[in-house]
Symmetry: C2
Subunit: 244 residues, 2 copies
DNA sequence: TAGTGGTCTAGACCACTTT
DNA sequence: AAGTGGTCTAGACCACTAG
């Protein structure tokens, strides 16, 4: 028998569909424009709605689409560059893109954070919740874990919510933090994060874990969750060409 | 009418299922252990297979599970820390975790890369494919775009594949690169990337775009795709506590 | 109230790996 | 050949938004 062609693995329908839609997004639609609804699109391409949704899921994961329940599917703007590099240690900051403390959380740090805090985790750990927005849209929610030992000067423990949160961060800021140790991984939004980020629980997020050191010790640990659909994290000497 | 409870939004089945499975993974299973197959699991929890798969999808996205067609679903080991920070500019390196050039690609850079290369994109651009492995498993595939102007000393353009790839990188290494400009965003693996990473097309990846500068000009641009399921990217002064 | 995306079902077949 | 995960269907109902 003659050698046949290498079998030509059939491309999944949703994969092909994604390419077609991707091309159409570039040539036939403007940013912000509403696409036909899923039932119409599925019919138009002759596939089941679930199959169409597989293609849309991927495009949304890549930040090309934005879907809102009860409203529709729109073409997403390019991802916004969010700096998480050297610029961050000036904690509160005051630009439009700064973090906004929203509350003081009463809870135990998760095991992974406790490990990073080391010995400092033995005593009380302050937990501050803060959020970050760009162009009016929330892009990140963060929990900052600060061992009481790191902020001995903290007074007004009687304050509440945002006020107490600010007090903790203000004290932390007095330390000379040289923490440049960070990790980035993929995660899915918890119910709490989802609420802050205006997304559904389980939405894909980029989890940024930062360890701030003062001398040799861990002064604080921050775990930030960034909306993976809308954010492009930028590192290094402040933006540059990649900042977008 | 009396005030009723705040409606108590029903938690999606797959969301609850995920929590249950997540707990079970920690208490009842060892890393590498094989879970019951999807049909059994679905029956055990009294849900459709598609619903169970939604839960498994999320756990896989978080790096808790590993699924292999024809084999089964296993409990994944903790994510491996992969350094993408200051340590990288020593390009080839020779440790176990180094990049391995695998070929020289004949193709035009995508528009986004051309933009980053600036004027240098006008002449020929060398494109090198390289991969990176940890513990025998591939973790990243990268395309390095090097304008011909950046490597004037390049000879042996007659070489092929890996040999030519090495030649290009060797020449690039002669420059004093100070590029610390990087971005990280979520993407899905192309067919090519998927093959290198031993995953299916569309698998979630962390896309790291690096711009290497020499003086003021862009000397090269690298676009790396890291397996989001198995990798935790580490930045900053070489690992430290977060490296894991 | 009508229309949207989100969840869920109960099946079927396919691609792949192992035996 | 048997068993696994991956794809696909054709429905149904729910949660949410807007007119």
């Amino acid at each position: 028998m003659g050698t046949t062609t290498p079998a030509a693995v059939p491309e999944p329908k949703y994969w092909h569909l994604k390419s077609v839609l991707s091309d159409a997004l570039e040539s036939d639609f403007e940013v912000g424009e509403i696409l036909p609804n899923e039932r119409d699109l599925a019919a138009r391409f002759g596939v089941a709605r679930a199959t169409l949704r597989q293609a849309l899921d991927q495009l949304e994961l890549e930040g090309r689409l934005q879907r809102r329940r009860g409203v529709g599917t729109t073409v997403a703007p390019p991802r916004v560059g969010v700096a998480v590099g050297d610029t961050e240690p000036r904690w509160p900051g005051d630009s439009d893109e700064a973090w906004e403390p929203v509350g003081y959380v009463e809870q135990q740090p998760p095991a992974a954070v406790t490990r990073l805090l080391g010995a400092a985790a033995d005593d009380k750990v302050h937990v501050v919740r803060r959020v970050r927005a760009r162009h009016g849209q929330p892009v990140a929610a963060e929990l900052v874990y600060v061992p009481a030992a790191s902020v001995p000067g903290l007074t007004r423990i009687d304050a509440e919510g945002p006020a107490l949160a600010r007090a903790v961060l203000r004290e932390l800021q007095r330390l000379e933090l040289q923490g440049q140790e960070r990790t980035v991984e993929l995660g899915s939004a918890t119910a709490d994060d989802a609420k802050e980020l205006d997304r559904l629980p389980g939405a894909p997020v980029l989890v940024v874990t930062a360890r701030y050191t003062s001398g040799d010790a861990t002064a604080a640990v921050a775990v930030g969750t960034y909306r993976a659909d809308t954010c492009r994290l930028t590192f290094g000497e402040d933006g540059g060409l990649l900042a977008g």
